[in-house]
């Protein structure tokens, strides 16, 4: 890959991040809501200071956050702080910064999403490849059908059903939370097993809710690869069916799926956020959900921007690394 292509993609990444930050800067300013006034109005109602003081406090905070400056200057400051990876402070848990909140939550989200994304990718692609492989036994090929049939069902709905059947009816797994009530987080094996038990249902919902997409696209890919000359050649060489399947058919069909992987990240993260909130897991999604509930705008925008930057960066990374794993498009 040429240096020029790399620079081009990096520039694209900068444009995407700039667009996302511009959107998160201007939308709140178009709206009629004033986060600082709302927050202090709330505090004033619960007692503490008189309404006269309220105006003075709001003014001084506007000054402190630079909200009295002209819009273009605020915008320049904002873009500057994003470039320094400074996402601002929480209005509700002041003086905690958004970055601190994200840092506390990110291990939970990463743990859940990385494992489920990879498992969903593997399961979906193998099932899809088998479904398109004419020599596979019929029952094996038909395993994929229900996944395609229920492709439209979002993981969140699967989570509701899993909660009902597995956690509520069978009482086999907990109904929610990151670990059992009354347990203090520690480094023991027992604690990790407890956490794992709590992660099982959200993970299952995420995996089964996203497998269908992979099955469908892999089946389509597999059908086109079957007709290729090299598959025919491998057959005539007398290679065993499994070798052909693994080395000639799966590998070639799998590579283009990697580019789809980057696109699927967005959906995965979206579903992960909603699932976390449904199960009460203390990840990024719950930070976002609590911020929505408390009208903590700066946290909402900070978290949204953080996720967007993460996804866009991963997408560009996958695109740049792709030639390394697929020799066919290496120049």
């Amino acid at each position: 890959m040429s240096i020029r292509k790399i620079i081009e993609r990096l520039l694209f990444l900068v444009v995407v991040i700039w667009t996302a930050s511009t959107i998160t800067f201007f939308i709140p300013r178009i709206s009629s809501r004033n986060p600082i006034r709302e927050r202090f109005g709330q505090l004033a109602r619960t007692g503490g200071f008189s309404p006269d003081d309220l105006e003075i406090i709001i003014e001084s905070y506007n000054q402190k956050f630079g909200l009295d400056k002209p819009l273009w200057e605020q915008y320049a400051d904002y873009i500057g702080s994003i470039a320094r990876l400074d996402l601002g402070v929480s209005l509700y848990q002041y003086p905690k910064t958004v970055s601190e909140l994200i840092q506390e939550a990110i291990p939970w989200t990463l743990g859940l999403l990385v494992v489920t994304t990879i498992l969903s990718f593997i399961i979906g692609n193998v099932l899809g490849a088998v479904a398109a492989w004419p020599r596979a036994p019929r029952w094996l090929r038909s395993i994929a059908t229900p996944f395609i049939l229920f492709m439209g069902v979002p993981p969140v709905l699967l989570a509701v059903f899993l909660l009902f059947f597995v956690a509520f009816r069978l009482k086999a797994l907990p109904l929610g939370g990151a670990y059992s009530i009354g347990v203090v987080p520690n480094q023991s094996l027992k604690f990790y097993l407890d956490v794992l038990r709590h992660q099982l249902l959200p993970a299952l919902a995420l995996i089964f809710g996203t497998v269908g997409g992979w099955v469908l696209s892999m089946r389509g890919m597999g059908v086109t690869i079957q007709g290729e000359d090299y598959v025919l050649f491998a057959e005539h060489k007398g290679l065993s069916g499994f070798t052909i399947f693994r080395d000639y058919y799966l590998r070639n069909a799998l590579l283009p799926q990697v580019t789809g992987f980057a696109l699927a990240l967005g959906n995965m993260v979206t579903s992960g956020i909603v699932i976390e909130q449904l199960f009460g897991l203390p990840g990024i999604g719950t930070v976002l959900y609590n911020a929505i509930k408390a009208n903590d705008y700066l946290v909402i925008y900070g978290v949204v921007l953080f996720i967007t930057i993460a996804i866009a960066t991963l997408m560009v990374l996958v695109e740049l690394l792709y030639p390394l794993i697929d020799p066919r498009i290496r120049e």
Binding site: I27, S31, P154, I292, I300
Partner: protein, 299 residues
């Protein structure tokens, strides 16, 4: 020599409706999708006509009742009859879906046509905007917009608008690529040579051939509108007063419905949502197959 009599009927070309039903038999996904959708529409229409929709709002019936003959889906913590809430919720879901879907498809078709047919700088701009917006998770931007709104301003209609704001990109790209390929076909060149104007070619020649694609992207838009408005409602950004299906699940979850044993509260809206999304996804896949002769199963 004997001549076999052939009844006149066999010469007649079957009507379009019959052909359509024959096609449905070959495309079971489309058939099942339509079947579920008709069932859902019947449920909603009969429900709207026979049920007092004011029962779908708080403090109208005895709260926390499990499913019984009087309340087939039970009642919730706030004293809503869940059957009435489901009927109203499905009606509102359909409203959001169809409104946002129609608007999104319209914008997508218009932009896709302009982009592909006129090409040049306009095409590059539209394509560029779509490419830049693509890596940004649409749902998160919708969270920002919905979160910036005053809670009182959030209604079914603002939900539809928020959902449509970023939902036109996919239809635009699909229609664009179709028009690009269609532009090069012979019948368009013939039309051009015979002196037809741009608008006439678009409306009389290209548009009719694109109808299956437009139908498929309409169903896709409805699907994504229902999907994203459901997600927004599940995280508590929906119109809180309304019994939208996502709102009901959000309310159930924030009251700890499973912890308290009120299993029916989140379960029935979830089943309804699964049926809606599955039928739309199946119809979309079926229409894709219908529109794209290369994957259409021949018989």
């Amino acid at each position: 020599m004997t001549t076999t009599m052939i009844s006149q009927q066999e010469f007649l070309q079957p009507s379009r409706v019959i052909l359509f039903f024959r096609y449905l038999r070959r495309n079971p996904g489309l058939f099942i999708g339509f079947f579920i959708l008709i069932g859902l529409i019947l449920f909603t229409v009969i429900g709207v006509l026979t049920i007092d929709s004011s029962d779908a709002y708080p403090l109208s019936v005895k709260p926390k009742q499990p499913p019984s003959l009087e309340y087939p889906f039970g009642t919730d913590f706030y004293g809503r009859d869940l059957l009435a809430a489901m009927v109203v919720g499905m009606w509102q879901t359909a409203l959001i879906g169809v409104l946002a879907g129609a608007l999104g498809t319209f914008i997508g078709v218009a932009l896709g046509f302009i982009s592909a047919y006129f090409g040049g700088r306009l095409d590059n701009t539209i394509k560029g905007v779509c490419q830049i917006l693509q890596p940004i998770p649409v749902f998160l931007i919708q969270v920002v917009i919905a979160g910036s709104l005053d809670k009182r301003d959030v209604t079914i209609y603002t939900m539809a608008l928020i959902v449509v704001l970023l939902a036109w990109m996919w239809p635009t790209l699909v229609i664009r690529s179709q028009v690009l390929s269609m532009k090069e076909r012979q019948f368009v060149s013939v039309a051009k040579l015979s002196g037809m104007g741009d608008l006439e070619i678009i409306f009389a020649e290209i548009l009719p051939n694109l109808l299956p694609f437009i139908a498929a992207s309409f169903v896709w838009s409805v699907f994504s509108a229902v999907f994203t408005s459901f997600y927004l409602a599940v995280v508590g950004l929906g119109p809180l007063r309304e019994p939208l299906l996502g709102n009901t699940i959000w309310a159930a979850q924030s009251q700890g419905a499973f912890f308290n044993g009120w299993w029916w509260w989140p379960l029935f809206p979830a089943i309804a949502m699964v049926l809606i999304l599955t039928s739309l996804a199946l119809i979309n896949m079926g229409l894709d197959e219908l529109a794209n002769p290369r994957v259409r199963r021949m018989e």
